[in-house]
């Protein structure tokens, strides 16, 4: 039936082998033409296959083997012949020739009606069948999909769905190369406004990429009253990698920034690092650092102190307290935690713990 070199995937596409649907159709049409029942040559047939090949198409079990090479690979069918009939070499060759002609006709028809492959369609199959990046790239090359320019992968998730959403986004970002609506999510690959990748242009590019969050979020809110979260991946020219990245951003937002309108991949800060660590480990760290005894007032004091670059006078001013009150509170922090926030190394540890206390929804 088909060559199986062990690298075949169960993806249903069969790009390097004869299309199974075509083989079935071939069997049907052969039956119409010859009156014989054909079926694809299967692995179980292997022992007798050797025999067949040796006898040039006719085996001892009086089977006809139809065998020829097509563009997609080797086509092999077998048919038992009616009892009492012994097919000779000529019959076998005639049936093979008939099969080859029918198969060529089927291929022409398939090409004529085959849908054109697009990035969107490929993404759809890849997501459903959970491909990896290498396989996605391989398929993209096989389908001769156009190269993508430098751009941003963007994922838009809406609280409610309305049919006008794609239209608004298409008009807002007409420079998209990929536009895929999937289960009330919109995934786009938006061409960067400049293809310059010089260092001095990268910053400009990132500012524009970041502005996509507000542009999309605000436009959907204003135009349709839809609340959307927008995730923008790093500038790239690889679609699958970008698709995976924006979905990772969804997880990070849920965990660390639930109130935000969206996230960009290059501004994650601590969240990017800590997202890799299990919530349990983080919870242990936070508890070890802050204990349960650090009051909200002391937490707020620490946050303000860090926000004012460890400046006593600025922090006291921001909290509307006397500097001595602030010093007293910082001493209390040292007493409770064992870490003195006025020492750099300890301040770093406390900063991390306070940051986690504020941001990590899972801890």
């Amino acid at each position: 039936m088909k060559k199986n070199d062990g690298s075949q995937r169960d993806d249903g596409l069969q790009l390097n082998e004869p299309n199974p649907f075509l083989l079935q159709e071939l069997c049907t049409r052969l039956k119409q033409e010859s009156g014989l029942e054909f079926s694809p040559w299967t692995a179980q047939d292997a022992p007798s296959r050797l025999t067949v090949l040796q006898s040039d198409g006719v085996d001892k079990d009086i089977r006809i083997l139809l065998r020829f090479n097509s563009e997609e690979g080797e086509v092999e069918l077998a048919s038992l012949v009616p009892e009492g009939i012994v097919p000779g070499k000529l019959v076998s060759r005639l049936v093979s020739a008939l099969g080859r002609a029918i198969y060529a006709e089927l291929q022409r028809e398939a090409k004529q009606f085959a849908p054109t492959w697009t990035w969107e369609k490929l993404l759809g199959v890849a997501v459903e069948q959970q491909w990896d990046e290498a396989f996605f790239e391989q398929k993209a090359t096989e389908y001769a999909l156009p190269m993508l320019p430098l751009g941003f992968p963007v994922l838009i998730r809406c609280q409610n769905w309305r049919s006008e959403i794609p239209m608004v986004i298409e008009n807002l970002l007409p420079q998209h190369d990929v536009f895929w609506v999937y289960r009330q999510e919109l995934f786009l690959f938006v061409r960067a406004e400049t293809s310059e990748t010089r260092t001095d242009k990268i910053d400009e590019l990132l500012v524009w990429g970041k502005s996509l969050i507000q542009q999309i979020h605000n436009m959907l809110a204003d135009e349709l009253g839809i609340l959307a979260s927008v995730y923008v991946g790093s500038p790239c020219d690889g679609l699958w990698q970008g698709y995976k990245e924006v979905h990772q951003l969804v997880k990070l937002q849920t965990r660390f920034f639930p109130g935000e309108a969206g996230l960009v991949a290059w501004k994650l800060g601590l969240a990017g690092l800590l997202g890799e660590i299990s919530p349990t480990a983080i919870q242990h760290y936070r508890q070890e650092m802050l204990k349960e005894r650090l009051s909200p007032e002391l937490i707020e004091t620490l946050e303000t102190y860090f926000a004012h670059d460890l400046s006593i006078s600025e922090t006291a001013r921001a909290l509307f307290i006397h500097r001595n009150t602030l010093l007293y509170r910082l001493d209390r922090v040292t007493e409770f935690t064992g870490y003195n926030p006025r020492e750099f190394a300890a301040a770093v540890q406390l900063y991390l713990a306070v940051w986690l206390q504020r941001h990590d929804q899972k801890a």
Binding site: Q214, N218, A221, D222, L224, P258, F320, H322
Partner: protein
Amino acid sequence: MAGLTFKNVVKKYDQNVVVHDFNLEIKDKEFLVLVGPSGCGKTTTLRMIAGLEEITSGELYIGDRLVNDVAPKDRDIAMVFQSYALYPHMSVYENMAFGLKLRKIPKAEIERRVREAAHILDIEHLLERKPKALSGGQRQRVALGRAIVREPQVFLMDEPLSNLDAKLRVQMRAEISKLRHRLQTTVVYVTHDQTEAMTMGDRIVVMKDGYIHQVDTPMNLYNHPKNMFVAGFIGSPSMNFLKVKLVEEKGRLWLVNPAFHLPSIEERREALTPYVNKEIIFGIRPEAIYDDAAFLEANPDWVVDVHVDVLEPMGAEHYVYFSLNEENVIARLDATSQAKVLQRHKVAFDMNMARYFDMETQEVIHRPGYQTAY
């Protein structure tokens, strides 16, 4: 046109309360400004009006209609944001008309509204242009136009001027104020910029940590702040706060601090008496500190000798920085001031303008002459 009413509105994200028991009545055609530092809940409040955030508890009315469960598109509001995104491939006319087309408004009506809004905003000559051919100010006008054509009951503006440069911001501030008088519509405007709030709002809501700290007219907020936060937030540079002990000597009340000994004016005696021999916060605005000879001579009791740390000439005035008992103080002195950096200098605090705050509650102790706006 319609007013808005918040009744005990609360917004929570999980267990985190971001807006606490919000009660407010916004009058029809009022220009109300929500102001406060980042994270105070002002944008969340605006988004609750828009229906982009669900209300956890409480009631919100637009006019007489309870809108808690009304979809955003049915609330009859229009929003203007900080980032004024426009459709790049559409002309200004098409940009303004697009929202109306989505709402299935008849073509002739769309034409009328767009022309009228363009006239109001003075952008009729730009209608055929694409956004790329517009300046920042013109784009912001188009964004306003997109809101105006909706003819909404309420305009919601979320820091619409933040993206503009300083000069354009001042210009657009005046434009929006003018516009609201022409449109005669209720406006709820969010900003973190107290100057914008002071210059544009009929009333201002000062928020912090999800709480309303004061709702008042701009001048009442400046002259009669309810607490230290409002006093410090409104006014630039902000009010100076100094910890003092209140003592009674020779029949007068005095504010005592290792760096000075200042008398309180007689009119405050009654309000301050319960605080005698206690520590309180003395608040004085930078513009209530003088160094001209006539003022110092007329008020010798109010004079303090200070060491000038920094002097910033601003053109029309000088900002002079000094410390009193390790607390930084800023004075906004006349440009003719003779103050010199790193030298001693005499200044006088105008004690008529002094404000006093409770150490514990941080609430103002007395607000003489205060009259509520509504």
